[in-house]
């Protein structure tokens, strides 16, 4: 994997960022996403093409530009520290296929 791609001025060139099957396995693990063994190569090829495409940003001159996290110039609103939600646990747990006695069940994590 490499963070820098095209030299400035070169746009839409050939595949400049190449993700290996090992890269894909690493990212997929970080994302807790299973990718079938048979799909890894095609996923690597498509991700390489996407990353090569977005890599043309490296040519943009963004030297002193302030990063923009949000489209409107607004500050995070605060609210009064008051209880506004009531307990709806049973209602919410109806959407889980593995809830019992008010708990969510998962495979054993502590031996």
């Amino acid at each position: 994997m490499r963070a820098h791609g095209f030299p400035p001025g070169v746009i839409n060139g050939p595949v400049a960022v190449k993700l290996t099957p090992q890269d894909v396995e690493h990212i997929a693990h970080l994302a807790r996403l299973e990718i079938g063994a048979g799909e890894i190569d095609s996923v690597a090829a498509k991700l390489s093409s996407i990353m090569s495409f977005v890599d043309q940003l490296q040519a943009a001159d963004t030297g002193s530009v302030e990063p923009m996290a949000h489209p409107l110039d607004m500050a995070q609103r605060l609210r009064a520290d008051e209880v506004t939600e009531h307990d709806q646990r049973d209602l919410f747990q109806r959407n889980s296929s593995a809830a019992a006695d008010g708990f969510y069940t998962v495979p054993r994590v502590i031996e």
């Binding site: 994997m1 963070a3 820098h4 746009i11 993700l19 890269d23 894909v24 990212i27 997929a28 970080l30 994302a31 807790r32 996403l33 299973e34 990718i35 079938g36 996923v43 498509k46 991700l47 093409s49 996407i50 990353m51 495409f53 977005v54 890599d55 043309q56 940003l57 490296q58 943009a60 963004t62 530009v65 302030e66 990063p67 923009m68 996290a69 949000h70 489209p71 409107l72 607004m74 995070q76 609103r77 609210r79 709806q88 209602l91 919410f92 109806r94 959407n95 889980s96 296929s97 593995a98 969510y104 998962v106 495979p107 994590v109």
Partner: protein, 488 residues
């Protein structure tokens, strides 16, 4: 067959020429007859709809209710509807029954609208063709071999085909405007923060915005009036008063300045679409507006910027789908990690997985500055271009999409080609601006959209410009072959 809009239907309801029950029953019959082919609905709630129609009729009989009371309607299946399954067109949420309503849903319900069902879309709104839906692609009523666009493709096809007079959509990178353009209808994406995101399944939270697909700008103004406004349950909802959009519709545009970004008319634009758009601009000149050439020099950065910012936010938002609390769960996992990985691996489709992986990559150690931070800076450059232009012009105009509707399957194997379909719409989301697409002609017999972009919270001006155009032209009333019937 005709295709009346909300304004006409509301008039007929007031005059007691029809009832909500009759309108809803008619819409359900059209869905039954046509939607096996179009596939624009994921869920139809006939019983609920008829009961709501009867309540609306009682209100109308008492002389109560407003312009939306009793009007048949559909929600994109990304808006949570209490008790009615909300799938986001994903296997992950195929059985999810929301315990609450989205603010958009509850506000429109309070205005008396009758929801017939939930429309098809790209999975988690990630796509520009509706082909990533777990429930299969939607077909374009103008040509059944073609895509209606996406991600709000089900809403667009349902409205264009006259199944319902209007439907909600969401627009993260063009997902209302592009399908509206490709199906010949009106699609409004309001300013970021104008309409509440509460109860809308999140894709990219700094870009997502709810809006509507309608048959006219006037109908869009009616709906926006009911949907817009501050919501304490959405932390980025704008705490600003909602202007009277209906009052502004007829304002004269003489002397107004329309900016035409030269980058919108470059070599990538289909020539017939370009002529249709230029012809539309002449209508504004005849109304006394002035056309001014402008430039958005950073526009070329917008698609790559978007495909860093949106996947990054997507990878974070979609981490909530863990197979535990709700959504698809893989049965038989031996460890918690296996439960997560298999539930997510089996529950998400290919495009959603690609975006999660892309987002995870650009946010991962060693790459954050090179990709994510770089994209946030490029986003600032794009927003700055628009700010500079709006100091000189009142509104910006151009095409909505580079080509008319493409064939189903045509771009499905090439994600980058698919992404480039949103080249004229994506920058508007990055800058948080409002945009509208209205039909303005044809290219090879397929509808072309004119896109108008306004300054922040300039929806009133957009609707005004769109309405005046629709008063001078009749593109928006022309029916696709699927509605007009054979030989029409």
């Amino acid at each position: 067959m005709s295709r009346p809009g909300i304004t006409q239907l509301a008039r007929a309801l007031r005059a007691r020429e029809t009832s909500s029950r009759e309108l809803v029953a008619g819409a359900l019959a059209r869905i039954e007859a046509q939607d096996r082919v179009l596939n624009s609905f994921i869920s139809v709630a006939a019983g609920q709809a008829l009961a709501a129609a009867d309540r609306a009729d009682q209100q109308l009989a008492r002389g109560e209710g407003g312009p939306l009371t009793g009007i048949p309607f559909a929600h994109k299946d990304i808006f949570c509807t209490a008790g009615l399954r909300t799938t986001c067109a994903s296997k992950m949420l195929a059985d999810f029954i929301p315990p609450y309503d989205a603010t958009v849903v509850s506000r429109l319900a309070a205005a008396g609208i009758v929801v017939l069902g939930k429309t098809n879309m790209d999975e988690f709104a990630m796509g520009s063709s509706n082909e990533t839906s777990f429930f299969g692609p939607v077909r374009n009523p103008w040509d059944l071999q073609r895509s209606p666009g996406g991600s709000s493709g089900g809403s667009a096809a349902a409205v264009a085909a006259g199944l319902v007079p209007a439907a909600t959509g969401t627009d993260t990178g063009g997902s209302i405007r592009q399908p509206a353009a490709l199906t010949g209808i009106t699609g409004l994406k309001p300013t970021y923060g104008r309409v509440s995101r509460y109860g809308m399944v999140a894709f990219a939270s700094s870009l997502d915005q709810a809006g509507i697909l309608t048959l006219s700008a006037e109908d869009a103004a009616l709906l926006l009036s009911a949907m817009a406004g501050f919501d304490p349950r959405d932390s980025t909802s704008a705490d600003l008063p909602v202007p009277d959009y209906m009052a502004q519709l007829g304002e004269a545009v003489a002397g107004r300045r329309i900016g035409l970004p030269k980058e919108f008319f470059d070599a990538g634009l289909d020539p017939a679409s370009a002529s249709a758009v230029r012809e539309a601009l002449r209508v504004y000149e005849q109304l006394g507006a002035k056309l001014v050439e402008i430039s958005l020099p950073s526009l070329a950065l917008s698609v790559p910027t978007y495909y860093i910012v949106a996947p990054a936010e997507c990878s974070s938002n979609l981490s909530r789908f863990d197979g535990v609390r709700f959504g698809y769960r893989h049965e038989g996992a031996q460890t918690l990690e296996e439960l997560y990985k298999k539930s997510r691996g089996e529950g998400f489709g290919a495009e959603v997985k690609r975006r999660i992986l892309t987002g995870t990559y650009v946010l991962s150690a060693g790459y954050y500055d090179a990709y994510y931070l770089k994209a946030q800076k490029a986003r600032q450059l794009i927003a700055r271009d628009f700010r500079r232009c709006f100091a000189e012009v009142d509104i910006i105009a151009g095409p909505t999409a580079p080509t008319p509707a493409f064939r189903l399957g045509e771009k499905v194997d090439d994600p980058v080609q698919m992404y480039l379909n949103d080249i004229y719409t994506i920058a508007v989301n990055l800058a948080g601006l409002p945009g509208i697409s209205i039909p303005c002609g044809y290219s090879t017999g397929l509808p072309v959209g004119l896109q108008l972009v306004g300054p922040h919270f300039g929806e009133g001006r957009l609707l005004n410009f769109a309405h005046l155009y629709q008063r001078e032209t009749d593109w928006h009333t022309q029916l696709p072959p699927a509605v007009a019937g054979p030989g029409a």
